[in-house]
């Protein structure tokens, strides 16, 4: 019974505002307090996120001066340039890579989060730290390290060749799976953490109930644990999908000419080509695609919330 009461105070009372008013002063004061506490975050987001977003959106209509400086203007050419078929190919490839990355991350993260949350015992925090701490090191440096380990004459392929498990032509770098492996490695932690949090909160009595009803371990997992933690999984998918879609490091270090992702093209526009306006237009395109995906996620969570409130 204890968790019930706790969640009742944390959530706004049912029936929305009318209910809150009926309960009188303290609830309203509390609501005001929360509003005020939200202020710094809101200001921060408005100041930095919205302003930079606005800058990118305006710059997408800009031009470049001879010194390579971006200039604002009203130039629709940048969006017209996006019609180039190369962008579509690369965008679709990035979508595919990000989706596969998401699925692999789910497959990897579920058992890990499950084991830690339900069987970690007193080592829980230590285990989570063991997963998180390596990610304190710079992503670029870690990926560069992988590109050395996985190179053709590197330690891994060398050892596999000695064991007869690989031949001279076997390569890992500059392949699609290589890039996806890099993405999974880079972002899997963002899937493990929300799933772990969801499983921590999950009422384990549900699993026991599933077992009592003669569900096998696998059936119980798929019909009880997974649905009960789907919000964590959804949050994890968003956290993995968004950065994976825009990533350029993995494709640059692990990929070849046929693995280039949209992030690489955007990076090229900003650095090599010094065409910030076109880079901005590409960024807007990427954001539009991501926004469509996010809308799906938002509708799903809203539905979940509505169901939970009922």
């Amino acid at each position: 019974m204890a968790p019930r009461t706790r969640s009742a105070t944390a959530r706004p009372p049912r029936g929305g505002r009318a209910g809150g008013e009926a309960r009188g002063g303290p609830a309203r004061a509390e609501a005001r307090l929360w509003t005020r506490l939200m202020l710094p975050g809101t200001l921060w987001m408005t100041g930095f996120l919205l302003a930079s977003l606005l800058l990118v959106a305006t710059l997408a209509f800009g031009t470049t001066d001879p010194l390579g400086n971006p200039r604002f203007g009203f130039n629709p050419d940048n969006f017209a340039a996006l019609a180039e078929p190369a962008y579509r190919t690369v965008l679709l490839r990035s979508l595919g890579y990000a989706l596969i990355t998401c699925l692999i991350c789910l497959a990897v993260a579920y058992p890990v989060a499950y084991a830690i949350a339900l069987h970690g015992g007193r080592f829980k925090n230590l285990l989570i730290a063991a997963i998180v701490v390596p990610f304190f090191a710079n992503y670029l440096v870690r990926m560069y390290g992988w590109s050395v380990v996985l190179s053709d004459d590197g330690p891994l392929l060398g050892a596999l060749r000695d064991l007869g498990l690989a031949d001279d032509g076997t390569k890992i770098l500059q392949t699609g799976p290589g890039v996806i492996a890099g993405l999974v490695y880079g972002f899997v932690v963002f899937m493990i953490i929300p799933l772990y949090a969801a499983m921590e909160r999950m009422d384990t009595a549900l699993i026991e109930a599933g077992r009592d009803l003669y569900g096998g371990p696998l059936r119980t997992f798929f019909f009880v644990t997974v649905p009960a933690t789907r919000q964590g999984a959804a949050a994890g998918c968003v956290l993995v999908f968004l950065p994976a879609m825009g990533d350029f490091v993995s494709a640059q270090l692990m990929g070849g000419p046929d693995q280039i992702m949209i992030g690489n093209l955007i990076q090229d526009k900003f650095f090599q080509g010094q065409n910030w306006p076109l880079g901005s237009a590409l960024t807007m395109l990427l954001m539009a695609v991501l926004l469509l995906g996010m809308l799906g996620y938002l509708r799903r969570t809203r539905k979940d919330e509505a169901e939970a409130a009922r």
């Binding site: 001879p66 190179s151 004459d153 046929d258 280039i260 526009k269 080509g273």
Partner: protein
């Protein structure tokens, strides 16, 4: 053209005036504003060669022997405050954002752009004791295309682009850009992750201008490069590491990187470096003093110190790039003995296969072609 600073000519006055007018219209909506006439004059004022503060130094990382810095600091009693960039674009962005440096090292193309934008002080070579070894020894630099009369720059290093390959796997090559299409190397070929180098390679192979901006030329270049694409393993500027770790049998490479590789390779004999008979792009980094440098006097002393024969020798041995300083040739030939093609000779310079700045429209055409080549 006289290297000395001279009073404003009518043309430069007009240019400055136009720039000022543009600046006014752009000031409200641009990131950077253009220089006005007063700034133009300030840029042309000869610099007094004397210590006027610590040196704020801005270059590629690890591109000067630390011993040279120490020597300079000790001799003049100043500190060298170092910061680094990782691309020319990054350097220009920092400069345009108003960061102040005393000495920078732009490539030829960027020297031209920065000088045209009024971002560089003029450098009076007569005030540099050791400049004669450069301009007397390599007359190309007395009046290079990127900076008439070398009025704003002193050349620092030179390099060429060619092909590095694994001699142990491929044997001898034919000395042509066509070698990149070598059957044996298929799937283990890299080209540089650099727009100008890749488009330039395609253009040279076809006998076109190395920095062509003509859409028809570029279409031909793209088509040629498309036939190379399925043979490529990747676009990477990490040329010598790719050779060393076995990912590449062959790679487009900068001469200086190949020279640097000699220091790391266990057995240099398994590697080769050639330049193509169709032509090898050349490039140079230059010393330049930004218009808003706070200690230009110290910067002048630093350039002079860097041009001393002892500093030149140390730096060549440290970074592996040749320098256009008379008397330094033997040091470099000894260093790159296994790869004689790394040398940048007077005739290489005369071929003048530098990457030039294109018009705004031309840059766009080149960008599109590059996206085409890279993204397929």
């Amino acid at each position: 053209m006289s290297p000395e600073a001279h009073p404003l000519t009518r043309r430069s006055f007009l240019r400055a005036g136009t720039a000022a007018a543009l600046g006014l219209t752009a000031a409200g909506c641009g990131f950077a504003s253009e220089d006005d006439k007063a700034a133009q004059q300030a840029v042309e004022t000869p610099i007094d060669v004397k210590v006027d503060g610590d040196l704020v130094y801005f270059n590629w990382a690890d591109f000067i022997d630390p011993a040279v810095f120490e020597g300079f600091e000790k001799e003049y009693g100043v500190k060298v405050v170092q910061s680094n960039y990782d691309s020319m674009e990054g350097m220009a962005a920092k400069l345009n954002a108003g960061n102040r440096y005393d000495i920078i090292f732009p490539t030829a193309k960027w020297s031209q752009r920065l000088a045209a934008g009024g971002k560089l002080r003029t450098i009076d070579h007569g005030r540099l004791k050791n400049a004669e070894a450069v301009f007397g020894g390599y007359d190309y630099f007395a009046d290079p295309w990127y900076d008439p009369g070398s009025r704003h720059t002193v050349p620092f290093t030179m390099y060429k682009t060619g092909i590095g390959w694994r001699r142990d796997r491929l044997g001898d090559l034919t000395g042509s850009w066509g070698d990149l299409w070598n059957e044996q190397a298929k799937g283990k070929v890299f080209v540089l992750d650099d727009r100008d180098e890749v488009l330039g390679m395609g253009a040279l192979k076809l006998g076109l201008d190395v920095s062509t901006e003509d859409p028809d030329d570029l279409a031909r270049v793209t088509e040629t490069l498309r036939s190379l694409r399925p043979r490529l393993r990747g676009f990477s500027s990490d040329s010598y590491n790719n050779l060393l770790n076995g990912n590449a049998d062959m790679t487009q490479a900068w001469s200086g990187d190949m020279a640097a590789m000699l220091a790391q390779a266990e057995d240099p004999a398994v590697f080769g470096f050639e330049v193509a008979k169709e032509g090898a792009p050349v490039n140079s980094d230059c010393y330049a003093i930004p218009a808003d440098a706070q200690h230009p006097g110290t910067a002048m002393l630093f350039i002079d110190y860097m041009l001393r024969p002892s500093s030149v020798k140390k730096n060549i041995e440290y970074i592996g790039y040749p320098m256009p300083v008379r008397g330094s040739e033997d040091t470099y030939s000894a260093l790159v003995e296994p790869f004689p093609q790394c040398l940048v000779t007077a005739s290489d310079l005369k071929d003048d296969l530098y990457f030039r700045n294109a018009t705004a429209k031309g840059e766009q055409h080149r960008d599109t072609a590059w996206t085409d080549v890279k993204a397929g």
